[in-house]
Subunit: 327 residues, 2 copies
């Protein structure tokens, strides 16, 4: 059975496009509190996995050994926009662990933040690896490798100790043994698992049931700007949640959410991979759970604008999502 | 019943994302030769309507009255990339009809062509209306208004003579009387119609059954660079068809195709609005119809690459499309 339509995009009186997808919400005891659509087929977790990938940085003792603060931990969880606040901190962190840009396995990527990208173009510079949105995650991996005195080269191989530790954490938290993997956009291995298992893993993080979990949540919530960037959904939604939720986008329509006060983990995937739809869905879920203030309004009903800025349509939760009872 | 999955995007061994949609192919006699999915619910035609919008420019006599060549007619059908070859021709055409950039109702838009956008940023310039991908279509509208001595101001109002003429053409060609409309990204009215009717309209164009149809097709086929731009799907697919097909993308997952030698019209819409999927579908259809050469291979199985350029997955026709018998 196809997944339900979760988001619709209108233009004047018609629905122009629709997005199907599935949602799983678990509590810290591992119970599935809400499910819509298929939550049992493995889906790549993409960058929504970063809070769990960062857990190894904290639990290995590497973060403390190198004197990292919450800012670096937030950057390890980030898909950042390549703003100076991100790249300067990543560059300093690399230096602190005796590494440099050349050690990063992720490819060069232009900053997503327009003014930073414009500056780069005006200077005639090329994109760098530090500007890659995943450079914080990679620097986290390198930090663990350094701490374990493991080889720095090859740290993104799936059989490198750092990646084996990530897979082990994910297995423990999710209860899912079999983790198919593929190569992510940033060259690191990325694991696929059922949304139900992913939501359980996120709920365990949210519930603070592992030693490093509390620190991951605290760092993300304290630094929403570092987890994404100016104008980005993760940043704005975490601000609108005012400390009550951490969220993390992933490519191809994935979103992860954690609500510490209730020990809830949220995992969702849009079938077609559309980020515009995953934003609407995570916002609608957080709204139903009562953790958002009015600043999130634009995510619940996003205007579709033409090139002179007039509103010509709307992106909104479709009936199946709008009517869903999520408490 | 949901539309079938037409395109799948893989990563390593798993299908990561899928795109549903529908397809209608008609012949010049109005017979539906192939249909997959829902072809009866109205969908916005978006920029795939441009060849029909441009028909008014030719059939009104305005194109001849102002001495326009096939290049201008191709630009009237274009969603161009804002390259100098596009903007310089549109600017000269505006001058020829006694208009200027200030008369264009479309909003300013940065060129899609990266080197042109980089040049703009380096000069510290702002995007212009002539760089808007629809500036050729708008200049076509203005040309008709001038020819008819109708007011230039308000030419994008749905009750302006130019827009009334577009709607009349679309009704005549498609056989669809009721045309719901919304405001397109470029501020012009855009009409919605069932894919079956849209395919019939395109087949009538392809079959040369209206006086201006042959000229529209000839202009698009002669100038694939002007209809889109460097590296764009419309341009590359028309080159790979070597004169045997004209194609036109539309926003939100729409594609139109015309095969003059067989009088076929093709209309398709991806449910979720993804352009990556509509490209794959139009390429697969043209390939099945035998009008593409090897240069289109990259569209039939497009590599998904990571940030260091390695292939990590594939975008390809899903089984329902791969198995479809389209002749």
């Amino acid at each position: 059975m196809p997944n339900p339509i979760l988001v619709e995009v209108t233009r004047a009186a018609l629905v122009e496009s629709v997005h199907r997808g599935s949602i799983a919400i678990a509590d810290a005891d591992g119970a599935i509190r809400f499910a819509l659509g298929d939550v049992e087929t493995p889906v790549y977790s993409r960058s929504s996995l970063k809070p769990i990938q960062a857990l190894v940085l904290v639990e290995s003792g590497a973060a403390d050994a190198f004197g990292l603060g919450d800012e670096e931990v937030a950057l390890a969880c980030a898909s950042h926009s390549g703003e100076p606040m991100h790249t300067e901190r990543v560059a300093a962190w690399l230096t602190r662990i005796g590494c440099g840009e050349q050690d990063l396995a992720c490819g060069p990527q232009a900053p997503r933040y327009q003014p930073a990208s414009d500056e780069m173009i005006k200077r005639g510079d090329k994109p760098t690896r530090i500007q890659n949105n995943c450079s914080g995650k990679h620097t986290g991996f390198l930090t663990v490798a350094r701490h374990w005195k493991a080889p720095v080269e090859g740290y993104v191989r799936v059989d490198h100790p750092v990646q084996l530790a990530v897979a082990t954490s994910l297995r423990m938290l999710s209860g899912i043994e079999e983790l198919p993997w593929g190569v992510d956009g940033c060259v690191a291995p990325n694991f696929a698992l059922p949304l139900a298992g992913f939501a359980r893993a996120l709920a365990k993080l949210a519930g603070g049931k592992t030693p490093g979990a509390e620190r991951i949540l605290r760092s993300m919530i304290a630094h929403p700007d570092l987890v994404a960037g100016t104008g980005r959904a993760c940043t704005l939604l975490m601000r609108a949640a005012a400390g009550r939720a951490a969220v993390k986008v992933g490519a191809e329509g994935v979103y992860a959410g954690m609500i510490p006060e209730r020990g809830l983990g949220i995992a969702l995937k849009i079938d077609d991979g559309a980020g515009r739809a995953s934003e609407t869905v995570i916002a609608a879920i957080l709204d139903k759970l009562g953790v958002l203030d009015g600043r999130a309004r634009e995510f619940l009903s996003a205007p579709v604008r033409n090139t002179v800025g007039e509103t010509v349509g709307e992106r909104r939760p479709a009936p199946a999502l709008a009517a869903a009872e999520i408490r």
